[in-house]
Amino acid sequence: QFPPYTQDCQQGLYPPTDGPAQTVIPTYTINLDLPPERRWVQLARDKARGIKELIDVIKGLVRGFAGGILIRIIDKDLPKLMGGLPETAVAEMTAISQAADIPLGEIFLYNLFYEFDAF
């Protein structure tokens, strides 16, 4: 169908009783009393594989868009680029990087990607 799309308004679908909307979403407690280095460790370990797979997709797409320049800048100048970020954010991303065994530059890129996408 060509736009504009015209599906009738749906009714009576809540609460969803079957399908993927029934998927139980895990809950993690992020304890802000802990130092930033320890807040995300469990989550990062549990989801390391999924984060890596996602970042691989992002890197591929960024390479296709910017020819690898952006990734090279982030890899080469990472300490300088992170200079203006809140200290706790840097500490949290560093901890996630270590717990998930993913380079810090890639975690940094991932954390900015929602904004980069709009570019």
Binding site: P3, P4, Y5, T6, Q7, C9, Q10, Q11, G12, L13, Y14, P15, P16, P20, A21, Q22, T23, I25, P26, T27, Y28, T29, I30, N31, L32, D33, W40, L43, A44, D46, K47, G50, I51, L54, V57, I58, L61, I73, D77, K80, L81, G83, G84, L85, P86, E92, M93, I96, A100, I102, I107, Y110, N111, L112, Y114, E115, F116, D117, A118, F119
Partner: protein, 254 residues
């Protein structure tokens, strides 16, 4: 993305959103899905941010991401963020400034996280989200607990371009934001505003509930192949329900 704040006939405020992400970022021709969206869904989690054993705020997040794009501070306010695409005053300039060393702007995700950690009122959150310099343009959709506490904030890098406020006395019982400035027509191949608005008017203020909003967000193309999750929030009770979404064929890519 589609974010909606609605006020029912008793002055209760409900905030709901579809998180759509991954547009033009790799199409899987075999499965008719977006590569990035498929990778995002398994990373969704509910985050309960606590201090001294008390909940400070709740957020729906992707593992590895430390900012907040969907969150609720119980009994205070709720916030969702929608991407804003613009050529004039785009985020490219803000990002280049950042890379070159001018660090006056805020990355949205870190700003919203800071707001949730440090700001306790709807008005203060609105003020900060309206005035802080940003790296890129964005829409903030902020809801509260009292009648009239709902607003979409259209942001450029350095200022607020527009507020769209709930105002039931003027008949505005809901505000709705997709990814387009409300004073402009959406791209005709990406018009989720018209069907969402139509469906809000079909359900009516009397059905401004989780059920009604879920139905609106379940109507294609408001629900589409980019939709990773649907979240329903009620600040007063501190309730935040999230559902992982897939859009069964026939379904539009965005």
């Amino acid at each position: 993305c589609t974010s909606i704040i609605a006020e029912d006939k008793h002055g209760e405020i409900f905030h709901a959103r579809n998180l759509d992400f991954g547009l033009l970022l790799g199409w899987d021709f075999k499965n008719d899905t977006w590569l990035l969206t498929e990778k995002l869904r398994p990373l969704i989690f509910n985050g309960e941010f606590v201090r001294e054993n008390k909940t400070v705020f709740k957020a729906v997040n992707f593992a590895g991401y430390i900012g907040v794009i969907t969150g609720l501070k119980p009994q205070k306010y709720s916030l969702t963020v929608n991407e804003r695409f613009t050529l004039k005053g785009s985020g490219i300039a803000g990002a280049i400034k950042w890379i070159l060393g001018t660090r006056t702007g805020n990355w949205m995700g870190f700003l919203t996280r800071k707001v949730f950690e440090t700001v306790d009122t709807f008005e203060d959150a609105k003020n900060i989200l309206s005035t802080k310099e940003l790296i890129g343009p964005i829409y903030f959709i902020l809801g509260g607990t009292k009648s009239g506490e709902g607003v979409t904030i259209t942001r450029s890098l350095d200022r607020t371009l527009d507020y769209n406020n709930l105002n039931v006395t003027n008949g505005t019982w809901f505000v709705l934001e997709t990814n387009y400035d409300r004073w402009k027509a959406p791209l005709f191949i990406d018009d989720r505003r018209t069907p969402a608005t139509k469906c809000m008017n079909v359900i009516g203020q009397g059905n401004a509930t989780f059920a009604g909003l879920f139905d609106v967000l379940n109507t294609k193309p408001v629900l589409n192949k980019l939709t990773a999750y649907t979240t329903l929030m009620h600040v007063k009770s501190g309730t935040m329900d999230t559902y992982i979404r897939y859009c069964a064929d026939p379904c539009w890519p965005w």
